[in-house]
Symmetry: C2
Subunit: 123 residues, 2 copies
């Protein structure tokens, strides 16, 4: 019946000196690259330009000890991309952090939610 404010979603963003960030957008991009095998394909699914998707990949690869994404441009198959072991590990740690934070913060989220208007009924 009333979906609107029933279950707030919690998004996390990690920031590291110098303005580096890792949050929902990069995590989603990694997941979509993993599934589609393509940086531009993953970006397209997120309504992101080719340039933007590549720039995020380059930013991530520079931020970690090992690149998170391995890609081959062009070639017979038109190039392709896949997550490295480090990419899978970073994504897993981020998703685990989300679940942990959500679970631990459940009571506080409920308090926050209780202060909010229920908009679903137009009240």
């Amino acid at each position: 019946m009333s979906e609107t404010h029933e279950s707030p979603r919690l998004f996390l963003r990690l920031t590291f000196g110098e303005g580096h960030k890792f949050g929902p957008g990069k995590a989603e991009l990694l997941e979509r690259i993993d599934r589609t095998g393509s940086i531009s394909g993953a970006g397209r699914e997120m309504n992101m330009s080719y340039k933007r998707a590549w720039s995020l990949v380059e930013e991530m690869n520079a931020l970690f000890r090992e690149p998170l994404i391995e890609s081959s441009r062009g070639g017979a198959g038109g190039g392709g991309a896949r997550l490295t072991q480090a990419g899978a590990a970073a994504l897993a740690a981020y998703r685990a952090l989300e679940i942990t934070a959500r679970t631990a913060g459940d009571d506080q989220i409920a308090v926050f939610r209780s202060l909010m208007r229920d908009m679903s009924g137009g009240k």
Copy 2:
């Protein structure tokens, strides 16, 4: 010595159907309104236009059962603003959620951090 990636900061954003959000920016605005007693003053501290600060305040007030900010425009003292009890409660719940998430997620943040390059030494 190496500050850059020593301690990632964790930022949280709660989202509620229909694109409503509450995150670091609104929390900071509430805090600054509480301290300065002024919406435009708080916005100015955050390099935010008068219009933007007011629009965020209106958005927050509409989202909660009770307004989070009470304001009087103009008048002898030039108007002023203060957090309501609901405003203080929402801010407190958000800050408590941050601490809870950060504490609970400490291990996962450390895993994430361990995958990252140490940029402080130029390595």
